[in-house]
Symmetry: C2
Subunit: 188 residues, 2 copies
DNA sequence: ATAGAATCGGAACGCACGCCCCGTTTCAGG
DNA sequence: CCTGAAACGGGGCGTGCGTTCCGATTCTAT
């Protein structure tokens, strides 16, 4: 079993086209986009997608993997920063901002459905990194101690829901999320 | 056009059965429940439901109408209470608690999708009432002035998302929502 | 060039849902 | 009763999705 047998030229080309089309489509509409639509945009048939990715979810993960990994890396870096408390809150704000521009990110971040698939290394990785940054912020005294990483997942979902509504009703972005993040600070 | 022509006995009986089954089903699973399932539970055919309600959404509204109306009435009453500020925050907490026990309430409260149907009097009514209570709380100085009723919708959606996650990860209920509601108070 | 395998594409499948049709059953007034 | 109209119910339609299949096509090693 050779993990990376050289692909035929046209196969490699089509695989890249699919990834590119999927990135654009998922970014705009998230998992809700039909697979046929991705195939159409990539100029290939639906069967071609399944030759390269075993399922729609696998394609989604292939597209989102790098982006999510960047967040995990950033979180790990910031854990060792000088003032992890401030970095933590600013970082969450950036994550939310990015997710508002990229529906795929929303879906990936909110996909912490009850039964977290153990096979899903990306999810595990990103939340471990977020947890590390949260811990650092708490040790720095900038975030309440009674918050854990599962609270963080809930918080992110809530903030994303709030920002979606804010956008739909042309209210200034980030206000409610700012209130929520402020509420994470310990009582003064 | 006689608005309430006396229904035949079996028709009335089946209509009630449908409403009862729909209430239970919607309460447990929200709008996601298939209509066939409601028909099965009511012991009728799917066609019978459509004889009494023109669409699934109409059935949903018939089921949720009273419940939503109760919240609107309560909000109006509390607007005239002695300390509307405290009442406002406690009221929001109760609404969220109830919605966590009743997925139909969640769907109804979050159904403030971008294009609010003008025909939907129930939605309009409840949000007007919530807005009145919000205004009273603000006049009493208990809630920040820069919050409006569309913020309230966003806030409710966010809180419901957070509480859903909290339940899935067996975290104590209401903590994050409490934080969020506290953040609505003016700076001390 | 040619054979043979890898790849392609889109028609076809299975499923689930909201909704409608229509032969059959049940009610209620004369 | 008895009969016409009202109501029933479940099978069927249209839709949209993810997925699979297979004949046609294209690439590459010889």
């Amino acid at each position: 079993m050779t993990p990376d047998k050289p692909l035929r030229a046209d196969a490699r080309r089509n695989r890249d086209r699919v990834l590119q089309a999927a990135e654009a489509a998922f970014s705009a509409e998230g998992m809700a986009v039909p697979l046929d639509e991705i195939a159409r945009r990539a100029g290939v048939g639906a069967g071609t997608i399944y030759r390269h990715f075993p399922s729609k979810e696998a394609l989604f993960e292939a597209v989102i993997h790098d982006r999510i990994g960047q967040f995990a890396d950033e979180a790990r870096t910031l854990s060792a920063a000088e003032r992890p408390g401030e970095e933590f809150l600013a970082f969450l704000g950036r994550v939310i901002d990015q997710a508002m521009l990229n529906k795929a990110l929303c879906d990936a971040l909110e996909a912490a459905g009850s039964p977290v698939k153990p096979s899903d290394g990306v999810q595990r990785d990103v939340w471990e990194a977020f947890g590390a940054l949260l811990g650092a912020a708490q040790r720095a005294g900038a975030v309440r101690a009674d918050v854990d990483v599962s609270d963080l997942r809930a918080l992110l979902s809530g903030a994303l829901a709030m920002e979606r509504h804010a956008r739909d009703s042309d209210r200034p972005a980030g206000r409610l999320t700012g209130l929520l993040l402020d509420a994470l600070r310990p009582r003064p």
